[in-house]
């Protein structure tokens, strides 16, 4: 299966670091792990993108209940960091200046324990984030570009 080497490399570095306990993952690194997949990973079974990605990114893992929703953004980390230099809106969130490709994964069925089953939707939306020290640390929501 075709796997983005950069994606794997990032994943392994983060996971190994977290496991080694030597350098705890920062909140920004966790944001990238849970939410950024660029370029979009092509998975063996296209309808299992969510299951595959969530497992690879340790969002789904033994001992963790299935995360009900998770959004993967198919844009570079830099583009998301750029959101933080935009003025925040009334609720304190920062929007990306442009719409970006996303896959929204929504938990289906009844399971809260792995294996977790998801339905995916691909969208072209602006992303709203919370920022700390100029870096995104929380994905608040997404919205369609105004027509």
């Amino acid at each position: 299966m075709r796997v983005s080497m950069a994606g794997w490399a990032l994943c392994m570095v983060l996971v190994l670091a977290a496991l080694a306990g030597t350098v705890a993952e920062t909140r920004y690194e966790k944001f990238l792990r849970q939410h950024v997949d660029h370029p979009r990973t092509s998975t063996l079974a296209a309808h299992r993108y969510c299951e595959t990605m969530l497992a690879r990114r340790r969002v789904t893992a033994p001992g963790r209940p299935c995360k009900p929703t998770n959004t993967f953004v198919h844009a570079s980390a830099e583009e998301l960091v750029a959101a933080c230099s935009q003025a925040p809106d009334a609720t304190g969130f920062h929007s990306t200046p442009t719409a970006m490709g996303l896959t929204v994964c929504r938990l289906r069925g009844r399971d809260t324990r792995p294996p977790c089953t998801y339905r995916s939707r691909q969208l072209q939306h602006h992303v709203r984030v919370s920022c700390l020290n100029g870096q995104p640390v929380h994905l608040a929501d997404t919205y369609a570009p105004p027509q």
Binding site: R58, P65, P68, G109, R110
Partner: protein, 456 residues
């Protein structure tokens, strides 16, 4: 000895290292490890050398038909006594089915075969069914989700089921079967001598049209404990028909999954009768059905009946609001059996949760696991939640994900966790934003109380 690895890309040296440990493993799970057909050659030798291997799980590896050929060479050895074989999402096609058929015909030790997420197609699975017909085959569990099966699979499948009294679990979810095929399947299941315990037909294109036949399976097979028809548009009329079978004295159903079935509050009358009379029913999922407050109130009434032995109730995303929380609270103060309540994705609000907490605090209430994700909660309800956490020793798991609890709310929850009388072991806080200070506080808490896991 167990080997269990997930999502790890294997370097050649790592693979070699693992191969030597595999020689003495009873169970091997290598999920999404970038294995290929050449890995299967190695695994074949392992199977030959390791007669104590009982479980082999290789989901999510691009093994391909070629890989399966190698693997099965090992599986066909008389010394092999493999019981469970999982090959989901391994890029298999109908070409693999001939090889798998020979394993099914030759290995009576094989009790479990999971081959979902492979484009086996009707032609391929037909060949598998032939393997199942062999008297040597003692298969108990068969999983064929997302195999691109069509209605034509039912005839050969029924023939195989007739010959297989050992079969206990069958999953055909996510195959476009349609009502006609499902009806035929049900007739076959009623005729078959197998004591089927689990039947999963999620997203199979079922409507109310085949519910009478599914009902017949329910009233004929007392062995059936676990039924899922989730993600099928059965509607209220379909549910009414299903209830005929569910309510039958022969039916000993324990787990019933009716998620996303187009049910409304109109179904709740029948569901209430089921909950308050079927003492075998321990778990029911009604996720993503527009039951609304009126429907929920009916269910709450049923749960007050002492005959109800329900332990798990899943009403996530059911169109509930604050309005039903009084009824929920009242039920919690009476019902001693309910252990798990999933009520997230409903606009309960702070007021709703405050009401629920009254019921939770009642000594009769034995809730262990409570799921309130995305319920429009804020910091305002956290003081009351904290009281519940510190008072209810039975509460071990609490989900508050996607609620804007803010620093103030999280701090109150932390305080409760620090309380020695709080037994919450798993606190789920997915996608909530908090400051760096609160982040530090959460980390410190996890360190000082290692039995507590904070999941985010």
């Amino acid at each position: 000895m167990e080997l269990d690895i997930q999502c790890e890309e294997m370097s050649p040296s790592r693979w070699a290292e693992l191969l030597s440990t595999m020689k003495s493993c009873k169970t091997i799970r290598l999920d999404d490890c970038n294995l290929s057909s050449s890995s299967c050659e190695d695994l074949c030798s392992i199977i030959n050398m390791n007669p104590s291997l009982t479980e082999l799980k290789l989901n999510n590896n691009e093994l391909g038909d070629e890989g399966i050929e190698y693997l099965c060479k090992g599986l066909l050895m008389p010394s092999c006594s493999l019981q469970k074989l999982w090959l989901q999402n391994c890029n298999l096609t109908s070409a693999s089915c001939e090889t798998l058929r020979s394993v099914l015909s030759a290995q009576p030790s094989l009790t479990e075969l999971h081959v979902g997420d492979n484009k086996l197609g009707t032609a391929g699975v037909k060949v598998l069914c032939q393997g199942m017909m062999n008297p040597n085959c003692k298969l108990q569990k068969l999983q064929l989700e997302y195999c691109e099966l069509t209605a034509d699979i039912v005839e050969p499948l029924n023939a195989a089921l007739q010959s297989k009294p050992t079969l206990k679990e069958l999953s055909l979810s996510n195959n476009t079967l349609g009502d006609t095929a499902v009806k035929q399947l049900c007739w076959g299941l009623v005729e078959a001598s197998c004591n089927l315990e689990l039947l999963h037909l999620e997203n199979c294109g079922i409507t109310s049209d085949s519910c009478r036949e599914i009902s017949a399976v329910l009233s004929n097979k007392s062995s059936l404990l676990d039924l899922s028809v989730g993600d099928n548009k059965i509607g209220d009329s379909g549910l009414a028909l299903l209830c005929q079978g569910l309510m039958h004295p022969n039916c000993k159903i324990q787990k019933l999954w009716l998620w996303d079935c187009d049910l409304t509050s109109a179904s709740c009358k029948d569901l209430s009768r089921l909950i308050s009379t079927k003492e075998t029913l321990t778990e029911i999922s009604l996720i993503d059905n527009n039951l609304r407050d009126s429907g929920m109130e009916m269910l709450c009434q049923a749960l007050k009946d002492p005959k109800s032995k329900l332990q798990e109730l899943w009403v996530r995303e059911c169109g509930l609001t604050t309005a039903c929380c009084k009824a929920v609270s009242s039920t919690l103060s009476v019902n001693k059996h309910l252990k798990v309540l999933h009520i997230g994705e409903n606009k309960l609000g702070d007021a709703g949760v405050e009401l629920m907490c009254e019921g939770l605090l009642h000594p009769n209430c034995n809730i262990q696991s409570l799921w309130l994700g995305n319920c429009d909660l804020t910091a305002a309800c956290c003081a009351t939640l904290a009281t519940v956490m510190a008072t209810k020793q039975c509460l071990t798991e609490l989900d508050l994900s996607y609620n804007s609890l803010e620093d103030e709310g999280i701090r109150k929850i932390c305080e409760a966790l620090r309380n020695p009388s709080c037994n919450v072991q798993q606190l789920i806080l997915y996608d909530i934003f908090w400051s760096s200070e609160v982040d530090d506080e959460l980390r410190a808490l996890e360190e000082s109380k290692p039995e507590v896991k904070i999941i985010s």
